[in-house]
């Protein structure tokens, strides 16, 4: 029982990060039908920028804020300079552009930062908390709390603010949203910016536990995408549930089977979902009226 609890804790921690990445995927997909494979790079930028700002002598909280601002800027730039000019292209071309952007960002990170692994000091110390026979890191709780806060804030924003409603309108039907006066270009800008910010926060929170380096983005993006697919692409609740589920499956796989197959678990899930249940757990089957 204590063993299961231990696996659950590590699964939920890493699952929270996948959930935040998947949420980023969902936001951008909802606003513009694009799958943004540079999402993982936002997480990397958040962590690495904070580390390097801190190394330059800037106090940690300020470094974190600067990192979030920088990553948001990168997200906006990605939309304005890479996606927007090609907005008439097919979705596949746009996806390829985001993959190209992710490779570009990784390359720039190698030069601007460096190629080594880095860590950040945890927020509340490194002594584990004993709970039910399992040891949980305070930072894990911070990650889970952070993810929960972000999800709640997003939900509140979408339900309670006009801009949030405009985002929903754009996601439901772009043409209709434009007809009623919503500036869909601004909405997509906004979705990229918010996704980047969420990614950056995820990166900053997880670095004390999982370390960061210039290429952590690749695997994170793939697993976040798997989580978004599992939960149903386009459904924010699905993204969160999918992320946590994939984290748990990975941890249980590593614990009870073998850690060598842990990465394969996420990819196996993508295969199964795409074959058996393409709309995912919470996705709605799209009906087109002719």
């Amino acid at each position: 029982m204590a063993e299961l609890l231990q696996f659950a804790f590590s699964g939920l921690t890493v699952g929270a990060i996948y959930a935040l990445v998947a949420l980023g995927f969902t936001l951008i997909y909802n606003a513009s039908d694009i799958i943004n494979f540079a999402q993982g790079e936002f997480v990397m930028l958040g962590g690495m920028t904070t580390v390097f700002m801190a190394m330059a002598g800037i106090p940690l909280p300020l470094a974190a804020l600067i990192a979030i601002a920088v990553t948001t800027g990168v997200g906006l730039a990605l939309h304005r300079f890479a996606i927007e000019p090609a907005r008439g292209a097919s979705p596949v071309a746009l996806i390829m552009i985001t993959i190209g952007a992710s490779v570009f960002l990784r390359g720039v990170a190698q030069i601007v930062f460096d190629k080594r692994f880095h860590s950040l000091p945890p927020l509340f110390g490194a002594d584990p908390i004993q709970f039910g026979g399992a040891a949980i890191l305070p930072q894990s709780l911070v990650v889970l709390a952070g993810a929960a806060v972000i999800v709640i804030l997003l939900w509140l924003f979408v339900e309670r603010t006009l801009l949030g409603k405009a985002v929903i309108a754009t996601a439901a039907n772009r043409l209709a949203a434009r007809l009623i006066g919503v500036d869909t270009r601004r909405i997509v800008d906004f979705s990229f910016a918010v996704s980047a910010a969420i990614g950056a926060i995820a990166g900053i929170l997880i670095t004390p536990i999982a370390l960061t380096s210039y290429d952590v983005g690749t695997l994170l993006a793939l697993k976040g995408f798997a989580a978004a697919m599992l939960g149903g692409i386009g459904s924010p609740l699905g993204a969160v549930v999918g992320g946590l589920l994939i984290g748990m499956i990975e941890a249980l796989c590593a614990g009870y089977l073998s850690s060598s197959y842990k990465d394969a678990a996420a990819f196996l899930i993508i295969l199964v979902v795409l074959v058996a249940m393409p709309q995912g757990l919470f996705g709605l089957v799209k009906v087109e009226r002719v």
Binding site: E3, K115, A126, L211, G255
Partner: protein, 385 residues
């Protein structure tokens, strides 16, 4: 008329002779290197690259080898053995190197061996596994201590502390797997029982499930972690996170300050077998290695601003053994250099005192290893080892 013709002919011949003699002197000796400068093995490859560059420059400043300058060609395999293989082929076919000092990881080295064996180019590897030199291959040598020696040194220390039942958690990379196999083979003879085993991928970021299983196995008195690079740092962090207080042993694959930096306070009390280089200043002055390791430490720290690691030391040894062999052979001819490398005797390096032979392409014995313990974020020597 005939005198003038005679004189012109002589002058032309003399000019050709002078030009002809000058040309070979400007040709350079090409030393190739494929190192894991980036990726999960970056704290192996990065100091290796820096060391090779520093010392090739130093040797060239002193006039080169046999009157020829050295040219160093380095490629980065990013810790991926497939890339290493591609670069090895490039070094042989395009860059046409005379010798190779490189292969930071066991995986990369094993991938590159067939390329250099076929091309008959001497290859001094900087990786750990014993398979690199056992069975002995004509053109392949290595400078780091083997994983088998690491296991034997660790087991000797365990017996000293009366710990006989251990658990192993190893990386699934070539070195981790190889050292795990060597430890399993050496355990019965050393009187050590392996109660349980776990493994992790070299790029994993969380080993708590595996360590939890070890923690819950009854009778385990110590844990040994074969692996290198980032993996053991995370294992060490997770180890303390889970509150495991049993002694933890690492391999010489973590012999770098980067490991201590990444693992943080969790590294306190961790023991590992390592070369004298890490405790250069603490060696007794009677130790024959002391002048070499102190000199290397100061040069490296001064030129790079970073602390030394045994990996840079292995690159230093590889380069020096190669250069000394070339000097003894008085040429860069691959076969002659190879023969001279094999005849290296009493070479005092950062890893130990090297005595190679046709059956031993490493040349180190167990006395080249010391058992170190990490205290206060620094290496200390466990007395009597």
């Amino acid at each position: 008329m005939r005198a003038v013709q005679h004189f012109t002919a002589t002058a032309v011949i003399c000019l050709c002779a002078v030009l002809g003699a000058a040309l070979p002197a400007s040709a350079q000796i090409k030393i190739g290197s494929v190192l894991s400068v980036t990726g999960p093995a970056s704290f192996l490859g990065d100091p290796e690259k820096k060391t090779l560059e520093i010392y090739v420059d130093e040797i060239n400043a002193k006039g080169g080898v046999n009157g020829q300058k050295l040219q160093l060609i380095v490629y980065d395999d990013a810790g991926n053995p497939n890339n290493a293989r591609t670069f090895a082929t490039r070094l042989v076919e395009e860059d046409k190197i005379d010798a190779m000092v490189g292969g930071s990881t066991t995986g990369a080295t094993l991938a590159m061996i067939p390329v250099f064996e076929d091309a008959k180019i001497p290859f001094i590897s900087l990786a750990g596994a014993i398979q690199i030199i056992e069975p002995v291959r004509k053109w392949v040598f290595k400078t780091p201590h083997t994983d088998k020696m690491a296991c034997e040194k660790i087991f000797a220390d365990l017996k000293q502390r009366n710990l006989t039942t251990i658990a192993m958690i190893s990386g699934t990379d070539a070195f981790g797997k190889s050292m795990r196999d060597q430890c399993v083979a050496a355990a019965p003879k050393a009187g050590i029982k392996i109660a349980t085993e776990e493994s992790y991928g070299p790029r994993d970021s969380d080993m708590t499930p595996q360590l939890t299983k070890i923690h819950n196995t009854a009778g385990v008195q110590a844990v040994v972690n074969p692996g290198f690079g980032q993996g053991p740092a995370i294992v060490t962090r997770n180890y303390r996170q889970l509150g495991i207080t049993l002694p933890l042993y690492e391999s010489h694959g973590v012999a770098s300050k980067e490991y201590i930096k990444l693992a943080g306070p969790a590294a306190e009390g961790v023991r590992l077998p390592a070369a004298a280089l890490l405790i250069a200043d603490k060696l007794p002055s009677s130790d024959p290695q002391k002048p070499i390791v102190v000199n290397y430490t100061h040069t490296y720290q001064q030129k790079t601003g970073q602390a030394v690691s045994t990996f840079g030391g292995h690159a230093y040894d590889g380069l020096m053994i190669l250069v000394q062999a070339m000097q003894r052979a008085k040429s860069a001819d691959k076969a002659k250099v190879r023969d001279e490398i094999e005849k290296s005797k009493s070479y005092i390096g950062t890893g130990g005192i090297v005595n190679m032979s046709p059956t031993d392409h490493l040349g180190l014995d167990l006395s080249a290893f010391h058992m170190l313990e990490i205290k206060g974020g620094d290496w200390t020597l466990v007395p009597g080892t």
